[in-house]
Subunit: 197 residues, 4 copies
């Protein structure tokens, strides 16, 4: 297993450095924005719900050397990938394999939470996050569907999060074809965030 | 002067925290991507060419506590804003007031350079950056025009930068109007980057 | 009053040819897409709900010389603008001034309907449209908010429209500044459509 | 061969109605914008350079019943597809198989030209178009690369076209996955246009 020593202070590790399998991954430009909305501290306790390949969890672990990152993932394939990527990047992430709501209940308290996947229980999960977040704790939801986008905004507001914000991100990347730069779109992502005040 | 203690490890300081005047500013989501493409180390020497309000320089200064940030800006109004923002965020940035090419020549060597404005001398500036960058040094150009986009790609390739890459970033932000979230677009930005290998 | 003879077969009349006032207008590129989703016939009876400046109604009137276009608008300012634009482009549009749901009830039947504004009664309006549309009739909703986007999709599906579709449209236009082309974004629009089968 | 009777006055025939093969096709939303920038008259003589599947040529033929559409395509596969699509939509398009510049020289005069592909001879082709266009004739270039975008703007301005304009179009389409609407991006397209005055 090739090890990678990522010595940079800035998030946005290139996608191709991660082991990916067939699990969808948050692209590096979107990850940079997502992590910026999380506003991590070096001692933050961060939960990644629906961690997928673990790309966000791993970046968070590097940014929070005095904190802790917990990744919740219900698919075996995802759990294996997160584990592999942790080894590759030599970071420690606590991996919880199972249902998001169930696993969230088992965590006592955290400062930051990113929801990348919810398995259809989004509202319950957001309520649980609100209950468990510390004061000034932050939540970020990454959505690729219009329904999760809408429900996240509605839930965050209803449950009582402050500074609820939604941004849409459309990134396209140039791919070199001969002397031409062909622009290829990444699917749009909606990044919703809020603060427990 | 209100001071702000930005204790987070992640870039993407909210736009409204900066003193802005009438100078255009790189928006927070774009700044997060730009800084991620710069791949800063804690000891990087960073040059910000056409620093504007200084928002990128200030974030860089916070990310590189053992390095140094130099901001070049030709407009008096910009210089004053950078100075104000440095005071506000309590970071140190060396400010060079004047023509970009002229000021770049006076700097011995640096590890990272971000070009946010070029005053029409883009090609000369990129060549100067190549000459002064250390090995594995990185350049990022932020462009809002099609001409700077094209010229940057052409120049970076011709001069010999490796891993030349261009991404376009279209962000829209939700603004609450009553119970509605109205999506407002930020102008598209092109982020071009390369490495001196 | 300057009269304009628009002799083209293709929709997408330039924005600046319309009298606009302070009323928001569907931009020409979005109008071209919106009208394409409406699939107008030369004899279509078309209703424009929340017609604003009347730009869509006027293009529809030109495309349906053997049909009829009815524009519903509740603001006096809008009604005056639609009237002015009809004179300018020398087309006939029946203008109904008042509440959308109320006015829709007074129309017997129509083949196409575009909803550009709903005054908060979106669900009732969509139901009314379904009731009044002829077989194979088409509905298009243009939305600038996430709530109208979501509600439109939900309603169209629940009420029984077929081929429900949503596209997001992000257009930026080059503005010449000296020898540079500065890209300026138009706010994103969501275009939702369906068919009564 | 299934025949399709497209009885609508508005462009934007759904992509899936065309025979496509492996040839890239201008997507329906982009086609609607492209055709709107062409401003077709019912008697326009239109040339489609690099016609691909012929989707634009076929829409143009339907919009210009008293005019004529000529499609230039250098690949055999493209020529066969254009022919098939003409049969399917029951429209007449004159197909010229071969090099774009060479074939353009053989056409005496035309009112509108759309360039979808140039085979690397973009500048010569644009000059030829200028020479052969009638007064008030219009040119539109659809580009998926940054180089063609830049070169088109430069050429159109240098050669003497008026009202040179560039827009970027980012469309994403909702795809239903269970009860979710997943937004899938179409690659960005740049639409450049000008008028011979």
């Amino acid at each position: 297993m090739k090890k990678i020593c990522w010595n940079y202070r800035t998030p946005g590790i290139p996608d191709e450095l991660f082991v990916r399998g067939n699990v969808p991954m948050t692209k590096e430009e979107v990850r940079a924005i997502t992590l910026s909305k999380l506003r991590l501290r070096e001692d933050s306790i961060v939960v990644d719900v629906g961690a997928g390949t673990g790309s966000i969890a791993i970046e968070a672990a590097q940014l929070c050397p005095k904190g802790k990152v917990i990744a919740i993932e219900r698919k075996e394939e995802g759990v294996a990938l997160i584990r592999e990527n942790c080894t590759r990047f030599q970071v420690e992430v606590e991996i919880l394999h199972g249902n998001a709501a169930h696993k969230l209940k088992a965590i006592e308290v955290f400062d930051r939470v990113i929801i990348g996947g919810s398995g259809g229980e989004l509202e319950e999960i957001i309520q649980l996050c609100y209950d468990k977040l510390t004061k000034d704790g932050r939540i970020v939801v990454n959505s690729i569907t219009l329904e999760t986008l809408y429900t996240s905004i509605q839930c965050l507001e209803k449950i009582g999060f402050s500074y609820v914000e939604a941004v849409s991100v459309n990134v396209a990347r140039g791919r070199k074809v001969g002397r031409y730069t062909l622009m290829e779109a990444i699917n749009p992502i909606y990044v919703i965030s809020g603060v427990k005040t």
